[in-house]
Homo-oligomer: 83 residues x 2
Amino acid sequence: MLEAKVYITLKKTVADPQGLTIKHALESLEYKEVKQVRIGKLVILQLDMNDEEEAKKRLDQMCQKLLANSIIEDYTFELAPVN
Amino acid sequence: MLEAKVYITLKKTVADPQGLTIKHALESLEYKEVKQVRIGKLVILQLDMNDEEEAKKRLDQMCQKLLANSIIEDYTFELAPVN
């Protein structure tokens, strides 16, 4: 069994109004040190397989087909064995 | 300058319909190895400060006050210096 953590973030050139709203909210709570906020998604998958190389290939496909929108988003992932 | 990555996940006991929908979509794309999908949020903050201990304290407050809903969500974060 493998656990995959997929981190999906907006590309740097894409505006992030949700991040901006959170930045303003933090500023109004006096967290003036916050200079930028960007929001991303975290997708945690349990995979019933043990071959990490094969899992990487299939995760790459899943990200491209479904999880991420490659026009506006980047993704990275980590794989680790779980019991 | 510090970069904080905050990972916000639903507590294990909280239902995750969005994760379930993605699991079903992956199944219909023949990714039968996917046994569970849970969705979380990733918040990336640029902090104009260098004291990591102080940053941890303030991030903890930000998570509790605004970023996470501690009734249904857990959070963890990582801090790293950036240029």
